[in-house]
Symmetry: D4
Subunit: 254 residues, 8 copies
């Protein structure tokens, strides 16, 4: 640990074993990141309660088990995205071993353990169709895990705008809105015309043909005639949850 090295240098200077010039040289050549970055990481965790999150896709079970175990030891909480049933079975055992409750959200493949009981502020998650629900769920669970209070309103595409109206109170209470939509991705524009809340749009890969795996929804959202919509990567409910939580906390923490 570098703090020790610096301390040692300072003690040597204090005791006169090392003169100022040599100490200066030594300090200049210490790998600065050991001081800086590590500290920042630490601060971040203290302030935000955002532990590292595991992206499970393409990792093998063994690696995931090791990382999960180490994270549970350090922080007693855990968020894993894009996880399969197999990953859950494996991580479930690790959690059991640590005596920490764990939950698997099958639609989105997200695993959550040790989330805070008390939620703050308010985030609303909307999705256009039932096929977009996995992405909305990922956003919901993420923001909730990080400590935000979250409410979801599903299936509010063109054919179900009245359901959105029924949820009007939720919307007006929220500090920030997440809107997940595939196909032509028009929902954020439509909602953007009805509210002045910051909107985080998440294109989903729902659709076929020229939906191009979500690129069309993505590009449509980036080109919304409603200015100032924040856009995420395709199917990135996790990122939307993080950003919504950050904005929500701006309000909560003031």
């Amino acid at each position: 640990m570098d703090t020790k090295k610096i301390q040692k240098v300072l003690t040597s200077v204090r005791s006169g074993k090392m003169d100022v010039k040599d100490a200066l040289d030594t300090l200049k050549h210490l790998p600065y990141e050991d001081i800086g970055i590590a500290k920042v990481d630490h601060h971040r965790e203290l302030r935000h309660g955002i532990p590292e999150v595991i992206f499970a896709e393409g990792k093998d079970l063994g690696d995931i088990r090791i990382i999960a175990d180490s994270m549970l030891k350090k922080t007693r909480k855990l968020l894993i995205t894009k996880a399969s049933k197999e990953v859950f079975n494996c991580v479930g055992e690790v959690c059991k071993h640590h005596k920490i409750k764990v939950k698997f959200f099958e639609k989105s493949g997200i695993i959550m353990a040790g989330a805070p009981v008390k939620k703050k502020g308010s985030v609303a998650v909307l999705c256009a169709g039932t096929s977009d629900m996995p992405v909305a769920e990922e956003a919901h669970v993420t923001a909730s895990f990080l400590g935000s209070r979250v409410e979801s309103v599903n299936d509010v595409g063109v054919a179900g705008l009245h359901r959105l109206m029924e949820a009007r109170k939720i919307l007006s209470d929220a500090n920030v809105l997440i809107v997940a939509a595939g196909m032509e991705g028009a929902l954020p524009s439509v909602i953007g015309g009805m509210t002045d809340k910051p909107i985080i749009a998440v294109p989903t890969s729902v659709g076929y043909g020229t939906s191009l795996g979500g690129l069309t929804a993505l590009f449509a959202m980036l080109n919304s005639c409603v200015p100032g919509i924040a856009v995420m990567n395709i199917d990135n409910g996790f990122g939307a949850g993080v950003l919504a939580h950050k904005i929500n906390m701006l309000v909560v923490n003031r």
Copy 2:
């Protein structure tokens, strides 16, 4: 004219100058399209009044002058799309020579001469923003030139939906709607949720960045969650006008 040739063969058979086998051979080797296609073309013109239309882009003035002159001689009417001011000046002279009134629509670069005075049925043309007007104008002029009554409602994007409401009567009177929109191309979906009329969507190249010259609007329209929207090529107001006219005439002609 091939009819004459066939007639001659038949007369020869009748008179005994040619036997059946030779006549059969002769007929088999006549270029069939002279019979078929030409006839169809002729019928089309009689029934529809759709003369050939000149696409000016990339043609040189000389060629356009010759084609325009020949068309005016035959049909005394003319439609030229994607024309520049120079094309208009050149064609204007030709029209003057034929003593036919001609009009140039500068936004869309469309030149019209000799359109029918009496319009039938009803086509409505809507556009999302003022930048989409050239395309809407091209659609309007085309359908009008072909003989449809057309009404246009401009600038009815998210920020101006109330103007659409004011034009509600026009919409409910129309047999078919043309909707031109660029950027995220969401307008056809929104209007599609409010009407049961056939909708012809025209993506425009309005926008920048990921509007990709209109591809995003095009793909969004093709992926509309409102089923059954007819989509045109980017900026193809002309095609939308033709299709709207054809559908409109289905109603008018019954």
Copy 3:
């Protein structure tokens, strides 16, 4: 139901319990969509008999079962697109429970129950090759389910144009044509040169290499030198069926 709320306000005003100013305020803050949108939806169903349609791809069996059950209860009819054998087995049971006959079209994966017996007008569906038949079938079943009389002519690509000729009567009787084609997507242009009926072109994902999963056929159709062809998303037989039905009904309903 909001009608009741408005009625209550009006009755209160009538009876003098509420003054005009308060009533005005109350009415202004009622969620307008409860009035507007719901009404429109209701009208649509009465006029058209177009019940909501389920897009099965990416939905789980449980959700589909619930939606299907609820729809059969309300409308005693059902259309499900892009369905697998499993979906059919599941929905079949639900139909059995409701004592409604159901049919599964395996090529296109479309499930139909409770379609009207009497068909009206005329829609023709043409496809270029046998590989395009699933898309053509989806279009056929959709338009038929909605109430249009539909005739199909299969495998009329360049190698089989004479079959198209044999079906000439069907074509000339139709109010609107659907043309499904993959690979270079040239069939709509060729047919467009032979008829003045509105043409709905559906690109299919048939082909390999630079067919780009149907994008090439799509772009070719959007660029047809025959103006006014309505283009659908790749493999979207369903959308083509809906649009054809709408245009067909324009003729029938006059």
Copy 4:
């Protein structure tokens, strides 16, 4: 004004001139948007001071002059994006006529008139290279025009990270950061590793070859390994300014 119409109906009900059933029918058929949307628009303006903004590209001078004149009359302020020198000359006259000071930011082509004197909260705008400055300027002017206090730090790419450090106070004071970068678009990821503030990333079209007009920077930002970065369309400094202002106001308004 529809309020008047409703008032009239209510008065008629009150006075007994109209019975409840007729009043209900009348109210149901009033174009709801006249109530709803207009009101929302009005609210938005009162609360936010975000007047409509003119996107100049592709509009002709005449149209811009008319819109600008009407906006200055109503709100005495004006923001025009992607404007040329010619647009400024034209709008300048209109402003002079209204006796409102106007300023043209040549790099970004943004015209601003009548912005609020008092700025609130804090937004920081960073850009990677001098070529990204037009986009950063657009973001700066927009957020500033809307009422946010804005500080800009230019040219802080990999070669100039030390300048970022010098501006550390600005960053830690800001409620939200805007980061504009072209080429490989890595700056938001790097800054994202150093702060917990919400980051709005704006890809710019700076670069050549595989920068693909900004698509590469856009996609890189959407794929940042730092989760929760809000991404805008290419060169869309305006949108970034609007979103930053909205988030900033969340903090200010509590």
Copy 5:
């Protein structure tokens, strides 16, 4: 058969049962393609021995069995491309039933039955690497099935140009060369610099990453600095075989 109809008309004219005018009308309305296209098809088969070819991908076994059976009945030969082992098993039975020998080329998935014993002229097929062999094989079998003598030289990429040299005699004897290559697709350019024979380049989908499924090889071949290279669709060995055979026959048939 339409020839009979025409003959009947002519006979009636001859015998005086039908006058010339009626005969003319009758002839004009005969579906012309019955005469023209059918004849062309017939001629083609007589001259070239190119029976229809079945593209198996995406067709179901039942359909393939029916078509194969009908083709074997008519022509006693058969070519099926992109066929699986299952298709072969199914078609094998049909061939057995017709007592026609059939062969399955597993690498390319091509099934051939009833090819001519005597081959003419000379076609050379070259491929860059062993992974390109399926495409080369498809080209080889196709041209051979159509009646061309074919010689193949495999694995002559940059690392094996000396093998090409060993095959120099084959090359100089060939009337036309087919060159299949994936990855960067440079082989046609290199061979083009060494010969004056017509070259047919077939890009293959061999490679990964930016080989883009063969698009890179395709585009490279289309941009060859050696002018006049004929390019086929990706993996389209069949098309290359057909074109090579046509060119080869030009030489043979003179």
Copy 6:
């Protein structure tokens, strides 16, 4: 010149100055290309009369003048493609200086000097619309310059198929057909259904929107349901002319 070096070695061997082993070593290390490639180039010119051709785009006038001058000196003939008027003026002077007649084809920007008087065989060039004529002209002039007899039939798209019929004799006399078409690029497929001649398809950049600068026509041609069509790069009339000439010569030279 390496021939001299080899001669020297051989002479030394003959005279006994050098033994066989040393001579063998020396010969093995001679740069082989000096022998091989140069010889091939020479042979090519003798056999084919295909001098190097200058691609003018992006070269500066000075360089073109030098190359043209050197080529005229050596071969007294010249072909320059994609040339501007300025290039022609410059090259014209050079030709004048060499007393060689030169012609500039303005539509295609091709400059030809010193072509053979006697043309052989037969190549037919067809184009879909008048806008495709520059590409057709480039193909025509190229094949003609190389020594092929060429006939062109212009403007034979869907709207003018009867003109194609009128030119039937030209087609049936040709050894090979070049077909240039933009937009949806369907013409080669249509003609391919009517002939058994080798077809060289040239996509043109004519069109807008999803014509994607000719990519759509290119991909459509590569996906033609008529097998064996040779495809060229977009607007590459030159390449088509070269390939057509090569195939034509195969017939002529036998």
Copy 7:
């Protein structure tokens, strides 16, 4: 073998059986590549120890077994990339037969047998995340197999830069760095700002949505604001290993 032919010619010249002119002609027409290319190949192997490498993807087991066997016979070493477990089992037997130790690196699917014991110089391989490790492993094994000493530092993305610092000595000892990264591909730029060593960047296909299978990382690396980064194809750890080894050897061999 051509050496024999040349020898024979030379002997004939020596003995006077053949005169110089005839010998010259004979030599000129010998296929030069038999001399040249083969020799070059031989030299390459002697100098570099780079035997041919087998790319297993898309090859069948039988072919791989034959090639592996032949290579082991000739060189007693072997490198196979993109190999499956099945390939390893098959090749394992072959190695056993030849009594050569073989190792399978499962993550990257690389098989190595007979690598040199003594490694030279120094190559460092860095990867951004654990998901990028397969590509890093392929690079490591390749360079190591070719004879370079290699050190790897894994998981040094933005979240783990301090680990990079810990490995600072490795970096400063290396002659060349390989950096593998997916998603936004920013790591090479960041490292490029910290070192003056040549950097070889390998984009990986890690990520989803707009990572576009690695294209985004690739394009980002090609657009790095740090000039002079060498970029490889997506997931091409093998190529990176070869280039790193070549550069490393430049230093070692001097």
Copy 8:
């Protein structure tokens, strides 16, 4: 300057004014980059003589003048890429003012001033056609400016490989090769088969149609069957020059 701050802390510790714990805290919170990054930058300049380079495209003259002036003051040398004639005129004056000779390479638009007289090592630059020369020139001038000895061989495409042979000595003397090519980008593969030197491939935007502005050449180079080719962004001669210089220096500096 931070060194002073650290010195002050150390002096305070020495003198006992500050205890070790406080000093440790102070040091930890010093902005580390002031030490680290700045130092690295300084070292880089001392070691390499690589001053910052100005990318002129999209910068305005005023900014360039200021930067150029500041750089000349500090380092008395200057490299500006992608510069126009106007930029040169402006920078020329600045150089004159500083009495430093400056040269403008018009083809590539590169401005060089104050390059070292003595060049070291050896870099060879090859280009495929005369149209690729601007990119080759940029690479040449860059590597030369940085201190490498550079030799260029132009126009060595397929049609001119013999010129490459004439330059064989240059190639074998070079430590590293730069190969610039557009169109199909095959030259690096061909040269890669003939040498074991590290190859840096630069795709150029030369070509039309499917050359896609250089993407095809880029992708071809990334897919070369010759492993280990370093690829640059399209037209990025500058980057190639930097990398070549770095590799060249590895050899020179040992």
